[in-house]
Amino acid sequence: MNARSSHRLPAHRRLTLALAAPVAALILSLAVASIALVLSGSNPFPAYGRMFSYGFELETLVDMVNRATPLYLSAVAVAIGFRMNLFNIGVEGQYILASIIAAQVAAELSLPAPLHLTVIILVGMATGSVWALIAGVLKVTRGIHEVISTIMLNAISISLVVAMLFRQWDVPDESLNQETAEIPPSGRMPDLNGFVELFTREIGKGRVLWGFVIVAIIIGILYWIYVARTRPGYDLRASGINPLAAEASGVSPKRTIIVAMALSGAVGGLVGLPEVLGRDYAYGLQFTQNLGFAGIAVALLGQNHPGGIAIGALVFGFLDSAAPILDVHGDAPQEIVEIMKGIIIFAAVITYVVVQRRRQDEEARAASLAMASSDSEPPPETTSNTPESDTRPAT
C-alpha cells in the first residue's frame, strides 16, 4: 500500500521540478544581466521597470506574439529533429528558400482566397521538406553527418536566394530593394486585430496581429499529437532515446531519419511565411534572417516540448519587442537583451540537468522503496492488480 501512495507523489512533484528549471533560469539571467548593466554604468532597476511597463502595453504584446510566431515554428522544426538526436541546423536555409519560392508562386497564382493561401503554405512546406531531405538522404545513403550537410545547404540556399533575386526578377530600376512581385490580396493572411479587439481596446500605432499565429498553434498541436499520441511519433522518440533498442523493436533507423528530416523541413518551410504573408506580401531584402538559428536556442529552452517551446518563444519575443525602449530612454544599451537571451539558455541548460538528476534520484528512491516495502510481504499480494484511474498525459 505504501508503494501505491508513493506512486502519487512524483506527479505534482514532477510539475514543480518541471517549472523549477525555467524559473531559475530566468532569475539567474536577470541577475547576470544586472551585473552587466551595473558594470556598464547603468542602474538595472529603472531599466527593467521600463521594459516591463512598456512590454505589457497591448501594442508591444502584439509585437511580441508576432516575433514569437516564426521563432515557435523554427523551434518546432528543430525539436522534431532533436527528438531523435538529429541536429537540423539547416532550418535557416530551409525557411529562406521556402519563403522566396512560396512568395514567387503566390505572386503568380490567382486562386480564391482560402485555396490560394493553402497552396502557398503547402509550397513552403514542400520546399523546406525537400531541402531538408537532401541532408536526410545523404545521411542514410552516404553516412554524412547532418550537421555538416545542413550547414553547407544553408550556404547554398542563401546563394540561391541571392541569385534568384537578382537574376530571375531582373527589374531595371536602380533601387537596391530587390524583391519578388507583390502577392495579390487573395494570397495574404488576414490579420487577427478584429478578433483581439473583441476582448480589448483598439490596437493602435498601426500594429497588426498576424493571422499566422493560428497556423503556428495548429502546428504546435499537431506536433504534440504526433509525438505523444502516434506510433510513428513513438518510433521517433524511441530512436532518439536508444536507437539500438528502437531498431530491435522494429523501427527502421533509416526510415525514421528520412521521416524526421522531411517533417522538420516541412515545418521549417513555414518559418518565413508569417512575414511574407502578413507584412511584406513579397520576399525582399528586409526579410528577417537567422530565425533558424534562434529556433535552436528556443527548442533548447523549451526542452522540445510544444508547451515549453511556446513559453520560450514568447520570452524571446518579449525581450526583442521590449528591448528598443531601453535605447529610447537611454537607460541601457538594448544589446543587454542579447546577453539576457544567452544567459537564459545557458542557465536553462544547467538547471535542466540539475532538475533531471533530482528527478531521477527521486524516482530511483521511490522504486527502491517499492522493493523494500514489498520485501517484507509475500510477493504475490504486493503488486495487486487494483485498477487505478490514471490519465496523466504522456510527456
Binding site: P10, A238, P380, A394
Partner: protein, 521 residues
C-alpha cells in the same frame, strides 16, 4: 582449505560493526555486521538490491557510513576516499574493468603509482621487477608487454588484481569476479585466490552464484534487504539452504522434464552466414530448427557469432547467405517490424543496449517492440496511453516487477526488475517464437527462478524458444536440445539430460573438439 579455521581466534583482519547507510527514504544497510578473519576467503551473497554494493562502497571509502565502525586489524578507521582505504590496505577489484586498452599490461599496472627515478622519469626496470615479483609470488600469470586490448577477460582480471596488490592492498574486495568468466577461467581464478590467501592476503568476495560460493569461500555472510541474515560455513549448508537464506522464502522446484515439442517447426534456419561490422564472416553456415513447445539451447562463450546470428534472425543484420523461415514462410526479405509483428519475441543479451528506453516511463518500455499492436495502439497508428498503462500494470503484477507504478522511468528499477519487465513485455504478447539471449544474466537467484519458470510454462503452451546462453545450469536445466556454437559454427549437438556441466563447458571453449581431434589423429 589452505588455512585452518582456528586462526579466527586472532584479531580479525577486518570487522564492520553495525554499519548503517541510509539513502533518502531507503535503508540500504541496516546495522550490518561482518567479521573477516585474517587470510580467509569471505563470500558475501545476497539478491540484487540486498545492500552488497553499498556495503562494499562503504568499506573501500566510496561512501561514508551513517553509523557504525570499521575496524582494520584492531584499529578503527575512517575512510573519506578509496585512497584512504588503500592506505589501510583495502583494495577493490571492480566487476567492470578499468584498464586503458592501448597501454601495455605493465603500464596499466603502474598507472598512477609509477616508481620514478632521477628527474621524475618512470623507472620501468624497477616497475617490471616489482610487478614480476608479485605475479610470480601469487601465481598470477600475465604478459607484461602485451597491450591490454589483446587480452582475454580472464587475463584482464588478473591485471586488475595485480594492480591492487601492487598498490599494497592486503585485503582484496572482488566484486562479482566470476560473472564475466567462462568455467575454466573461473577455476583458474579460484586457484589464484587460494594462492593469495596462502600468502596471507584476505579476500572479500561478492557473488551470487551459489555453487561457486560454496566451492571457494571459507565463510559466507548472507545479506537480505540491507541486513545480515546469517554467517555460515560452506560445509554447514546446502546450495538450497543458501538460496533460501538469500531469498527469504522457499524456492520452486524444477519440474520433471517431459517433452512438449510439437511437429510444427516454428523457426528454421538454413545454412545462414553473417558478417560482423568489420565484414568478417562470424556466422558460418548455421542450420537449425526450433519446434513449437521446444526450447533449443544455443550454448557458447560470448563472441562466437551469437550476437550476429540473433541479429540476422531478427532482421537487424542482413545475412550473407542462407534462409530464415518462420512457421514455414520465408522471412528473409521481411523487415524487423514485420518479423516482430509476426510473433517473434526478443529478450536482448544486454538489456540497456538493445532492450530499454531508460529515461522513458515503464509503460512506454512495455510497448517497445509491440507499439503497433493492441492494446498499445489502435489501428497500428494511434497510441492508447491509458490502455498501455493498464496493460503495464497487469504486466507488473503478473511478472512481479517491483516498482511504484507504470509511470516510473525504467532507469529507476534495479537490474533484476528491468529484466522481469523485458521478459514480461514479450511473454504478455504471447509470441510464437522467443529468442532469449542470456535471459538471466546479472539477476539474482529469486528472479532467475521466476524467469526459468516463465519460460518453462510458455514452452508447455507451445512456445518455441531459442535460448542463447553461456550459463551452464540454465542451458542444461531448461533446454530440450543443446547446440554448441563455436567460432561461428554449430560444433556439437548434445542431450541436456545426459551432458554434465563440465562436458558442456569443454565443448563451449572448444577444448572438447581439440581432444577429439587429437584422438582421431
Amino acid at each position: 582449505m589452505p588455512q585452518e579455521v582456528g586462526r579466527n581466534a586472532m584479531t580479525p583482519a577486518l570487522s564492520l560493526e553495525n554499519i548503517t547507510k541510509r539513502f533518502p527514504g531507503v535503508l540500504a544497510n541496516d546495522r550490518v555486521n561482518l567479521t573477516v578473519a585474517e587470510g580467509e576467503i569471505h563470500a558475501i551473497c545476497g539478491e540484487n538490491g540486498a545492500g552488497k554494493s553499498t556495503l562494499m562502497n562503504v568499506l573501500y571509502g566510496m561512501l561514508p557510513a551513517d553509523e557504525g565502525r570499521i575496524v582494520v586489524r584492531g584499529d578503527e578507521v575512517h575512510f573519506r576516499s578509496p585512497r584512504d582505504a588503500l592506505a589501510a590496505g583495502i583494495g577493490m577489484v571492480h566487476q567492470h574493468f578499468m584498464l586503458a586498452d592501448n597501454l601495455t599490461v605493465l603500464e596499466n599496472i603502474i598507472l598512477g603509482a609509477e616508481p620514478t627515478g632521477r628527474g621524475g622519469r618512470i623507472d620501468f626496470a624497477d616497475a617490471r621487477r616489482r610487478v614480476a615479483e608479485l605475479s610470480d609470488a601469487y601465481g598470477l600469470d600475465v604478459h607484461l608487454d602485451e597491450p591490454v586490448e589483446n587480452l582475454g577477460v580472464g587475463e584482464r582480471q588478473r591485471v586488475e588484481i595485480i594492480k591492487v596488490l601492487y598498490r599494497g592492498a592486503r585485503i582484496l574486495i572482488l566484486d562479482e569476479p566470476t560473472s564475466v568468466l567462462v568455467p575454466h577461467e573461473v577455476e583458474e581464478l579460484f586457484r589464484n585466490m587460494r594462492d593469495m590467501c596462502a600468502r596471507g592476503e584476505t579476500i572479500v568476495f561478492i557473488d551470487h552464484k551459489l555453487d561457486e560460493v560454496l566451492e571457494i569461500a571459507d565463510t559466507i555472510t548472507v545479506l537480505r534487504a540491507g541486513r545480515t541474515v546469517a554467517t555460515v560455513k560452506p560445509d554447514e549448508v546446502s546450495p538450497r539452504d543458501l538460496a533460501e537464506l538469500m531469498v527469504g522464502s522457499e524456492l520452486p522446484t524444477p519440474e520433471a522434464r517431459t517433452t512438449t515439442a510439437q511437429e510444427t517447426v516454428s523457426l528454421e534456419v538454413q545454412d545462414l552466414s553473417v558478417l560482423d561490422d568489420d565484414e568478417r564472416e562470424v556466422v558460418k553456415g548455421i542450420s537449425l530448427e526450433v519446434r513449437r513447445g521446444e526450447i533449443v539451447g544455443m550454448a557458447g562463450v560470448e563472441g562466437n557469432g551469437q550476437v550476429e546470428f540473433v541479429e540476422a534472425l531478427l532482421g537487424i543484420r542482413e545475412p550473407l547467405q542462407g534462409r530464415v523461415l518462420l512457421e514455414g514462410a520465408d522471412i528473409n526479405e521481411w523487415t524487423v517490424r514485420q518479423r516482430r509483428e509476426a510473433g517473434i519475441g526478443y529478450i536482448p543479451e544486454d538489456r540497456h543496449r538493445r532492450g530499454l528506453l531508460l529515461p522513458a516511463p515503464l509503460w512506454e518500455n512495455a510497448m517497445c517492440g509491440h507499439q503497433g499492436k493492441e492494446p498499445y495502439s489502435r489501428r497500428g497508428f494511434w497510441l492508447t496511453p491509458k490502455a498501455a498503462r493498464e496493460r503495464t500494470r497487469e504486466l507488473i503484477a503478473a511478472f512481479d516487477v517491483r516498482t511504484p507504478g507504470p509511470d516510473v522511468a525504467a532507469h529507476a528499477l534495479s537490474g533484476g526488475n528491468q529484466q522481469k519487465l523485458i521478459i514480461g513485455r514479450e511473454m504478455i504478447m504471447t509470441p510464437n517464437l522467443l529468442i532469449a539471449a542470456h535471459p538471466t544474466r546479472g539477476i539474482d537467484v529469486g528472479a532467475q527462478a521466476a524467469v526459468w519458470e516463465t519460460l518453462h510454462r510458455a514452452r508447455e503452451q507451445g512456445l518455441a524458444v531459442l535460448l542463447v546462453s553461456a550459463d551452464l545450469d540454465e542451458l542444461i536445466g531448461l533446454s530440450d536440445r543443446l547446440l554448441v556454437i563455436f567460432r561461428g559454427r554449430i560444433s556439437a549437438a548434445l542431450d541436456p539430460a545426459t551432458v554434465t556441466p563440465r562436458e558442456l563447458g569443454a565443448h563451449m571453449t572448444g577444448a572438447a573438439g581439440e581432444v577429439e581431434e587429437m584422438q582421431h589423429a
